[in-house]
Symmetry: C2
């Protein structure tokens, strides 16, 4: 992708929720002139008061960023193309084929429209949750369709880069197949795991550990928003859910039957995790974990990090375990496997209780 174009603005952001406000803040920080619009005047005013731009109507715009709920994207894109006959129009919705289809059905000329999807978010929502840093280092899928003009694709590419993201070009249907697998399916399986906790006796839940917390964390997200997201990508999700249902049938049968059908599913699961890209695009996850006990006193965590960094070992990943009834904190420090023994030795020498 050439970078002959540079985003100059003005940019009109339509929809001042978390994503729209964050795009606006990032563009303002990059020196771009930003105009804000929201169905709710109050949301637009709040975003403006946070420094995300002005609520004045621009006389002309280079780019319209549509940041409204998924169900409304198609119509708002068509309206924006009509209102701004020279502007490129994009959106930031997490599904791409359905809004495109709705826009196409209107009969509008979509050559100036190219979709986009920054892989960033938060459990929080609304303009107050917006931040110029939201997209830093994130992947931003840019999804041109066959009728898109090259200039429009370049402009959306520039938007992503200006916001600090890494732009990746994808076909809209390909994007939707990808997020069905890496985002929507995990979300729904987190939900059905959590749904089984509803009628559990409270004393059973006392045995819950970090594994359950990890699996169910994303099930806390807003059900109304997620209903729109998964309805907008129903086809690819239904195929994956059907495949999962077949695996669940294999598990149910394998629980009581001889043979290795059960182990085969567990093997496929482990093999699947090994395909996840690691830090900096490494093909596999190669961290080793060092466990360190941290007394529940002020200053101990800071002291640990000073000591860990003095060991010269690079910390790749880090987590504090907060299991029920655990009086001491246990910090899990992820490091390269060849550094784990060095870190354990270095911390032990400084009086920490550390082990692999």
């Amino acid at each position: 992708m050439s970078r002959a174009t540079v985003l100059r603005g003005p940019v009109l952001v339509v929809g001042c929720g978390l994503l729209g406000t964050s795009v606006a803040l990032a563009l303002v920080r990059a020196g771009v002139d930003v105009h804000l619009r929201d169905r709710s005047d109050e949301h637009a005013r709040i975003a403006a008061s946070l420094g995300a731009g002005t609520t004045d109507r621009p006389t002309e715009v280079e780019l319209v960023v549509v940041a409204v709920p998924p169900d409304a994207v198609g119509d708002v894109v068509v309206d924006a193309l009509a209102e701004w006959p020279d502007a490129v129009v994009t959106d930031v919705a997490s599904v791409k084929a359905a809004p495109l289809g709705r826009a196409e059905a209107s009969g509008a000329d979509l050559s100036r429209y190219v979709g986009g999807h920054p892989m960033a978010g938060s459990e929080r929502s609304g303009p107050g949750a917006g931040t110029a840093d939201l997209f830093l280092g994130r992947v931003w899928a840019v999804t041109p369709h066959p009728a898109s003009r090259h200039r429009a694709t370049e402009t959306v590419f520039e938007l992503a880069v200006t916001c600090g993201a890494s732009a990746v070009l994808m076909d809209p249907a390909d994007h939707d197949a990808a997020v069905a697998r890496v985002s929507h399916l995990p979300h729904l399986l987190s939900v059905v795991t959590a749904a089984q906790l509803g009628d559990a006796p409270a004393e059973h839940l006392a045995l819950a550990g970090q594994g359950l917390r990890d699996v169910t964390r994303i099930a806390e997200s807003d059900p109304a928003l997620w209903t729109q997201i998964v309805r907008g990508n129903a086809g690819p999700i239904a195929s994956l859910l059907t495949a999962v249902r077949d695996d669940i049938d294999r598990l149910i049968d394998g629980l009581s039957a001889p043979g290795d059908a059960l182990t085969q599913v567990l093997d496929r699961g482990r093999a699947g995790t090994s395909r996840l890209p690691g830090k900096h695009g490494a093909p596999e996850r190669v961290d080793a974990t060092v466990y360190v006990q941290v007394p529940d006193r002020p200053g101990e965590l800071a002291r640990l990090f000073v000591d860990a960094e003095e060991s010269g070992v690079n910390i790749e990943d880090l987590r504090i375990d907060h299991d029920v009834a655990r009086p001491v904190g246990v910090v899990e420090v992820g490091v390269r496997p060849d550094s784990a023994d060095v870190l354990v030795a270095s911390l032990s020498a400084k009086g920490w209780s550390a082990h692999r």
Copy 2:
């Protein structure tokens, strides 16, 4: 539970893997005389060389801790009861009814047997992974059966407490129903999520974020061990998997149908997460998250923790995001909601890019 008894030893640990070696190390540290046995002489020798006890056969023992794979527990318990006619016998397997049933089927007198299950583990295995700290602050389920003598229950309770755990009394069947829901079901749903990654195009996986990583982390565990664990608890797991399959059918139908069946499942998932006990037994998860950018330079993480702790805010939870292609690290700091703004202000004043 009275604590009239005190664990004096000698204790015989049968099975020198991660759990057996860790129990032995914890007991040695508490001053208890520990003897080690393993089908593999080398494993027993390694455990002894790590300070976990002696491989000499004891002349008498107060307690036998059976720490062998789940499928072997019932038989080894029966053998231990016969070999040591005055000893209490326990085990540390993650299922309780199946080993008990197998021992009962032998016709042996099980009055000196009380099962146990420390809620602790590691992705690593073998004696070299053992550590005296493994059980600190963890819940240890103690599962007497109707024929258990009170003295035996007290001795196993003392074992858990001596290892640093919080002992919880549970009926064996109740324990198995609980772990089916909070451990085995989440494990299997993590596995089927990860199994769907196997035939995904690599470029689709580039869109993977932290949510997918959280959901699939535990799917990395040993398939052979987990086959034994879930087979040993087949009944409760099959019931839950059947309920999940019904929810998946509701999701598939709800994706393309009008009505709120889809949202209802999402609502039940969110409600389920709210039932998980929080830190120190709080009924709900109430942390707010503060996001802080950390440049990828040595010393920055330590500096962040010094600055965060100087703010006076108590850090409840902590995570480093390691998304693909993210050039700066983003640390997610979990704090009480009323402390989040204080932490953001304090860190911002010290030059950090921090936001809620």
